[in-house]
Amino acid sequence: MKIVKTKDLVFEYIRRDEEGNVEGITTALDHVDLEVNPGDFIAILGHNGSGKSTLAKHFNAILMPTEGTVRVDGMDTGEQEKVWDIRQRAGMVFQNPDNQIIGQVVEEDVGFGPENMGVPTKEIWERVEESLRAVGMYEYRKYAPNKLSGGQKQRVSIAGVLAMHPKCIVLDEPTAMLDPGGRREVIRAVRALNDVEKVTVILITHYMEEIIHADKVFVMDGGKIAMQGTPREIFSRVEKLKELRLDVPKVTLLAHELKKEGVPLPDGILTVKEFVEALDRLRSGRR
């Protein structure tokens, strides 16, 4: 069974003027079909206003589709009585770390989700410890959140979701407000969750470097899915990505430009290591 499945998903924002009359309708999502397999690492890319965050909020039943359906672990998000089950199964991490930490101490914040679910006290403590260890924040459990760095706060947020034992974690631009160091920290923690705990990850981002490890990438544009495929497939279409106003990793771009100038390099080079290997092969081939 698919962990997340959307069918003909349409979402419209209705803009109103001060008297409440409808001023206009913005279609944020336009017939989106998407399927996510359990255990996958999915990345959703797109520039600002492409509808990627709106899409993410549908996975957690925060927004309801105007048309079409969203199924999370087989449950329709439109069914009122299933909302809490869905939110427990698909946890969500938001962009601003300050605005999603509720507790005044790290461990209390991580315990917030399980408390809401009615988990017995003893088990809450077990879950808190295990989640904090999974993101490498266990030593900070007694800290006040405002004493932590952005990357650390975001890892606490991830632990908070993890303590609810979700099957799937949706991260809505979790690194957008972080410095490069914090960004690496968070992405490392997310990848570990996917590799070790086998949690399905849906990462929404506009940083290209973060998606090269994904199993599948969806590129959004104007509320539609513009491209989908493995990172390699996506990055081999540099021209199309540029058209969608997205950056390409520098190595990929370099390889692409070299190829245009006649150097016979393969398509979709993602890392410096691959690039060096390809060059080596080229050199030994010439000899």
Binding site: Q88, D98, N99, Q100, G113, M117, G118
Partner: protein, 272 residues
């Protein structure tokens, strides 16, 4: 510098008073305050002072922190003292200029001053030894019966603890906005009072907008983590009475009894 501000006036140390259940401390403070107003005679105050001194000693909080709260009400204390001194009718004791000081006035003034000081120091003991978070928890649990009369106790407690959590964040933000406005030539400490108040507008407007945005984000994050009010919620750190808490209640009961006996019934305290 704005980061170092301490919330409430919690004094971090480890003592038996710190470890007591917050409900015990809230109850003790209330009983102590009531006892001050029940007592009529000097012997009762002696009991109260001894009780307070013992609590302070056990709390390991330096005495000067207790006195700190007094500074804020010093003015109020002086006003009540002099009003009582000069304006109480009764048998004249002596005269200062045109004002008559009566015997009853002296008694009342001293009594009120002692009451107020003890009241302030007594409640300081509670706020100095209990974290704001703990206090909120204690209040929530104590007021839970009110939930039956549709008082949203859990919600109010949740709001209090979120407010506490956001104070440092908003302070930091104020600092940031102030610096941003100063960089563009705004000044916050020039001119008279009205000008100063006016210069706060460009500070408050962005602060309010950002606070609302944060509230919106936080509400979404809470809902995403299955928050749906107090019903069916379990506690990570439930409040549970331990032996020492029962002992404290017992001591409180004894104290109250002593106060009533010494302050009202036994006649040998009628110096006042």
């Amino acid at each position: 510098m704005i980061r170092d501000i301490t919330l409430g006036q919690y004094y971090q140390t480890d003592s038996i008073v710190h470890r007591l259940d917050p409900r015990v401390k809230i109850a003790a403070t209330l009983i102590f305050i009531c006892s001050l107003f029940v007592v009529e005679q000097a012997a009762g105050y002696v009991v109260a002072v001894l009780f307070l001194a013992a609590a302070i000693k056990l709390s390991h909080v330096p005495f000067r922190f207790m006195i700190r709260g007094m500074r804020a009400i010093l003015f109020l204390l002086l006003i009540t003292f002099f009003f009582n001194l000069f304006l109480t009718p009764g048998e004249a004791a002596f005269q200062v200029w045109k004002l008559t000081v009566t015997k009853e006035g002296i008694a009342l003034a001293v009594k009120m001053a002692v009451r107020l000081s003890l009241l302030i120091v007594g409640s300081s003991v509670m706020t100095l030894t209990t974290t704001p978070n703990n206090l909120t928890d204690g209040l929530e649990k104590m007021l839970r019966p009110l939930q039956k009369c549709k008082v949203p106790v859990h919600e109010v407690a949740m709001m209090m603890s979120i407010a506490l959590r956001f104070i440092p964040i908003l302070l930091e933000e104020t600092d940031k906005i102030m610096k941003a406005q100063m960089a563009r030539g705004a000044s916050f400490d020039e001119g008279n009072l009205i000008q100063k108040a006016k210069s706060m507008v460009p500070l408050l407007v962005p602060l309010f907008i950002s606070a609302f945005r944060r509230a919106n984000d936080l509400a979404m994050a809470m809902e995403a983590r299955c928050y749906r009010g107090g019903e069916g919620r379990t506690k990570m750190k439930p409040l549970q009475y331990k032996g020492r808490d029962y002992a404290a209640y017992l001591i409180l009961a004894v104290y109250l009894a002593l106060c009533i006996v010494a302050g009202r019934i036994v006649p040998w305290g009628s110096i006042l």
